[in-house]
């Protein structure tokens, strides 16, 4: 089968139809995963009785395939009367799956702030809240910016999973073209290149943000 360049160019607009959803799902899932991941980590650091529960949830999330979790939300929950729209399942599913990983980013980011920082703040008589918000958090943010940026791109690249529950995103659009024309090479290559382009843009944004935060020049 020869690659038909003219055909490829013709289907670009069709594949692009899904790009809005891809970006929307990626951004909302990233926000959801970050918020949820932060919550898991807070719970893990809170009461000793809650700690093993949070740890179990985090381990369970990370030890099951994203596809299984999404199938569960979409195909199993309706048996129990819970019917969720595909778009919601997609965003929530990716948020949930990645929150397990992002909680580990927060864990490492907080652990990497030396204990002496909190001690110095406490010994100055700062309140617990001021210690966390003004001393620990800014240093943690520097530690997590890079891995969090990497996960944002990971989430973007995971959005095609949602094709299996018919969320109209970019891979779904490409598959529609393929099944109508019986040509797979062009739609897959076009979709692949568009993902590459999005990922490169996202990576550039992450790098710009890191520079803005002074992470490159101020690393110590």
């Amino acid at each position: 089968m020869n690659f038909d360049f003219a055909f490829a160019m013709r289907i670009v607009p069709l594949v692009l139809e899904g790009i809005g959803n891809t970006i929307l799902v990626a951004i909302l899932s990233f926000i959801g995963a970050t918020v949820l991941g932060f919550c898991w980590e807070i719970v893990r650091r809170s009461h000793w009785m809650l700690r093993p529960i949070a740890q179990f949830i985090i381990d369970a999330i990370r030890s099951t395939p994203a596809l299984v979790q999404i199938y569960f939300l979409f195909f199993v929950l309706p048996y129990y009367g819970i019917v969720l729209p595909a778009m919601f399942v997609g965003i929530f599913g990716l948020s949930f799956y990645y929150s397990g990983y992002i909680s580990e980013v927060f864990k490492a980011g907080i652990d990497a702030v030396p204990a002496g920082q909190g001690e110095a703040a406490e010994s100055l008589g700062l309140s617990w809240a001021d210690t966390v918000i003004l001393v620990i958090a800014p240093q943690m943010l520097r530690n997590i910016a890079a891995p969090l940026g990497a996960y944002s791109i990971g989430i973007l690249k995971s959005t095609p999973i949602l094709a299996v529950i018919a969320v109209p995103e970019m891979l779904g659009s490409a598959l529609d073209v393929a099944s109508e024309t019986y040509r797979y090479a062009e739609p897959m290559i076009v979709a692949g290149l568009l993902f590459l382009l999005l990922a490169l843009i996202a990576a550039a944004c992450v790098a710009a943000l890191e520079r803005r935060l002074g992470l490159v020049s101020q690393s110590h």
Binding site: E119, A120, S123, G125, L126, D130, L134, V135, Q218
Partner: protein, 270 residues
């Protein structure tokens, strides 16, 4: 009879107004440590330690590593919690989960071996943070206080820099200034020169000596025996979580009583 009744009334009044403060008035003690014990797991780091520090007194605590000296001074601002015994700081007894701990800490400055400056803040911001957030000063006032104290440790020209741009000795002087900004009544030093390059030890010790000459109550864990000789009113020697011996510097260095003290001194004074 009347006198006895009066005495009883005085006793009752003392008890009703939290007595440590009254004790504090009678004998001006900055720190009272009585029968304090502490364990890390099953390992006992402090064994029934009792020591008082008077207002204006300069005490040097020394001893081999693992002797509990750092743990002891960290108990004074409750970075470590003691499990037995009493600690009274500036008239307030330190108890588990006490309400006024932050207030007690504001009056007790602490300088750490690793400086522990906040790396994301400038020298000036390091000094003003607690003034603004804990002492509730206006930013302008806080900066004024900060500059005065940076001047005091002779590093005012570095106010706009970040800690990583300074040498170790400069960082430690900033850390001292940061603690002094809070106008503490007691200063704790936890091996303040141990992490410094040799040529920077003096500049930090000079600042500490200046502070001692101003009458600051100081408790220093240090191996700088020259400093102990010159500045301390009393040297406390610890080993195995106990206070083995305490004496004036001249007596401590010339006539140590215990074998463990002698052995320690022979190892560090070469």
């Amino acid at each position: 009879m009347v006198a006895m009744e009066e005495e009883m009334i005085v006793e009752l009044v003392k008890k009703s107004i939290s007595s440590p403060q009254l004790d504090g008035l009678k004998v001006p003690k900055a720190v009272q440590i009585a029968n304090v014990s502490k364990w890390f797991g099953s390992f006992q780091v402090l064994r029934n330690v009792s020591v008082d520090v008077a207002v204006g007194e300069r005490v040097v605590v020394c001893g081999p590593s693992g002797s509990g000296k750092s743990t002891l001074i960290r108990c004074i601002n409750q970075l470590e919690k003691h499990q037995q015994g009493r600690i009274v700081v500036n008239g307030a007894e330190l108890t588990p989960g006490m309400k006024g701990l932050a207030a007690v800490r504001r009056d007790v400055g602490m300088v750490f071996q690793q400086f522990n400056l906040f790396p994301h803040l400038t020298v000036l911001e390091n000094c003003t943070l607690a003034l603004v957030r804990a002492r509730k000063l206006k930013r302008g006032e806080a900066e004024q206080v900060a500059m005065q104290n940076l001047e005091r440790v002779r590093i005012v020209e570095q106010a706009g820099k970040y800690p990583r741009q300074l040498s170790g000795g400069q960082q430690q002087r900033v850390a001292i200034a940061r603690a002094l900004c809070m106008k503490p009544r007691i200063m704790l030093f936890d091996e303040p020169t141990s992490a410094l390059d040799p040529e920077m030890v003096k500049e930090v010790l000079d600042v500490m000596t200046g502070l001692a000459n101003e009458g600051m109550t100081m408790i220093c864990v240090t191996h700088e025996m020259g400093f102990a000789r010159e500045v301390a009113d009393r040297v406390v020697f610890m080993d195995g979580g106990e206070i083995i011996e305490q004496a004036t510097p001249s007596r401590f260095f010339s006539h140590p009583e215990h074998d463990r003290t002698k052995k320690f001194l022979s190892q560090i004074l070469h």
